[in-house]
């Protein structure tokens, strides 16, 4: 039995509109004001707003609380949930609580390893014990169980289903590449309704992976939203190419930003071109656009890329 779910994101996809999701990172603070300011910058642009869950294993305001705060401001959250910090008991409890608060989109992720935080500028908690009781695919199946089977992972019934629109992440160009489409297939088999991808810069390589997914019928079962991260400099692109697993940046793109007189403006142009290019790929149903620590650029980019709500059908 499939429990009906209604979210703005789900409806946009169901109606065949080109979907747009953006991202809001909760603050490292109990003060909701920075979150409200970010939300005000990008309100009204997208169908959903990803709220990250202690990304890079750095402690921030909880994804549930931050999601509720932006929901109250009129933005529809996509609550991210990672498997690093909670076991299946805590996650299901939080999912029921999230549902009670009116949160309906949830994105299931493995989560950045806590050791990764030590590599950044912040100290993080590299000495923390991680959980990984279940993995992201098992989390997807667990959420689906709460929604469609009215049961917890352990088998106990829940009084009424929790209507979640279930998301998953996909790294189409990750290593080992042959397996990446199969891993997507597993996520969709487990219950993913939509999929947001790792940042795409190599459009032909991405299109080839999406084509494989289409050939397997996966793009009919779940909506793929191509991830786009606004590049701001050649240095940023080359860093991502070298250091971020699963991100492939063509050398000519790095060169283009290097030669640009105004790399920031060129980065916006590149972003617009990337969005237009992925929009042409059959099976791609939207984009997940990120302007990390530069959210103020988003309204302009969304407009230039033809992603304003009135332009998306």
């Amino acid at each position: 039995m499939k429990t009906p779910v209604q979210t703005q994101l789900q409806q946009a996809i169901a109606a065949g509109r080109f979907a747009l999701t953006l991202e809001i990172g909760p603050p490292q603070s109990p003060n909701p004001e920075p979150l409200r300011q970010k939300a005000a910058l990008i309100k009204g642009l997208a169908d959903g707003y990803n709220v990250t869950d202690n990304q890079t294993a750095v402690v921030r305001m909880s994804s549930i609380a931050a999601s509720k705060i932006i929901l109250d401001l009129g933005l529809e959250p996509v609550m991210q949930m990672v498997c690093r910090d909670r076991n299946r008991i805590a996650m299901q409890s939080d999912l029921l609580g999230a549902s009670a608060l009116g949160l309906k989109n949830v994105l299931a992720l493995s989560g950045d390893h806590q050791k990764a935080s030590a590599a950044g500028k912040l100290q993080g908690h590299p000495g923390a014990k991680n959980v990984y009781d279940i993995d992201s695919i098992q989390l997807i199946a667990t959420i689906k169980g709460l929604r469609d089977d009215g049961r917890q992972e352990g088998g106990d019934p829940i009084a009424e289903p929790a209507p979640f629109f279930i998301g998953a992440a996909w790294t189409p160009l990750g290593t080992p590449r042959n397996f990446r489409v199969l891993r997507l297939a597993k996520k969709i088999a487990a219950g993913a309704d939509f999929v947001q991808t790792q940042a795409v810069y190599d459009v032909p390589a991405f299109a080839a992976q999406v084509q494989k997914a289409r050939d397997m019928g996966l793009t009919d079962k779940a909506a793929i939203l191509a991830g786009i991260i606004v590049p701001r400099s050649a240095g940023m692109l080359s860093y991502m190419d070298r250091q971020v697993p699963g991100v492939e940046v063509p050398a000519e793109l790095i060169a283009r930003l290097k030669q640009a007189k105004d790399p920031k403006a060129e980065g916006i142009k590149v972003t617009v071109e990337l969005i237009q290019a992925v929009r042409e790929i059959p099976g791609v149903k939207g984009v997940h656009l990120q302007a990390i620590e530069a959210e103020e650029l988003l309204p302009e980019i969304v407009k230039a890329a033809g992603l304003s709500p009135q332009d998306r059908g």
Partner: protein, 222 residues
């Protein structure tokens, strides 16, 4: 084998503060194989401790012993003659051996000289890498003989996360293979990639420490 590694020498010296006669006891089994707690390490560590404490103005007499297996009561019993002559024991066996010694000589303080870290193999000379997490629910038959519980940084059950580096290493450590990359390669080599497509359901962790301390009872052997 059970793998252990020396604790930092300053930590060892601090733990022996105030003691005059110390029994340093090793084990000739696993910890000898991983060069942490065998006879050679006992004989190396004893003078290091003695000199280190002397530098701090503390004279200490260190008696050394290496048992065949510190996790077997019969071997631990070999210490019963020497134990009355000491005021502390430092063990450089694994945590199992240490506890047996502590239990047998309950009046003596027992200090750990090593940290027990893993169930591992000697992969190369001087390099030990984890192989088993003693999870109590072995899935090696599904993963082509490679364990993702012990060898994936996130113990993932259904394939690699997005953190596999281009060269196939794990994002957590540039020198560690992404075990799922190796599992996928083995599956491909056998033409059985499809075997990895089935979603593996949530694992039952209750047959490991998560179900409470493990207690295996075999009535037929009692």
């Amino acid at each position: 084998m059970i793998v252990a590694e020396w604790k930092p020498i300053p930590e060892l010296l601090a733990s022996l503060k105030g003691h005059k006669n110390v029994l340093l006891v090793g084990c000739a089994t696993c910890v000898a194989e991983c060069a942490a707690g065998g006879e050679r390490e006992v004989l190396t560590l004893a003078p290091v401790l003695k000199m280190g404490l002397k530098d701090q103005g503390q004279e200490v007499n260190i008696i050394t012993r290496t048992l065949e297996r510190q996790c077997e009561p019969e071997f631990v019993e070999e210490l019963s003659e020497i134990a009355p002559q000491v005021d502390a024991i430092m063990s450089i066996a694994c945590g199992i051996g240490m506890q047996l010694v502590a239990e047998r000589f309950i009046d003596l303080p027992l200090y750990p000289g090593v940290n027990t870290t893993s169930l591992a193999i000697r992969e190369q000379a001087g390099l030990w890498t984890a192989r088993c997490a003693a999870c109590g629910d072995c899935m090696l038959g599904e993963t082509f003989g490679l364990c993702p519980v012990a060898r994936c940084a996130k113990s993932l059950m259904n394939g690699p996360c997005g953190g596999t580096r281009k060269d196939g290493k794990c994002e957590v450590d540039e020198n560690t293979e992404c075990i799922w990359r190796l599992i996928v390669e083995r599956a491909e080599a056998k033409g059985r990639l499809e075997d990895l497509v089935k979603v593996r359901p949530s694992k039952n962790w209750s047959n490991s420490g998560h179900g409470g301390p493990k207690r295996m009872l075999r009535e037929d052997l009692r």
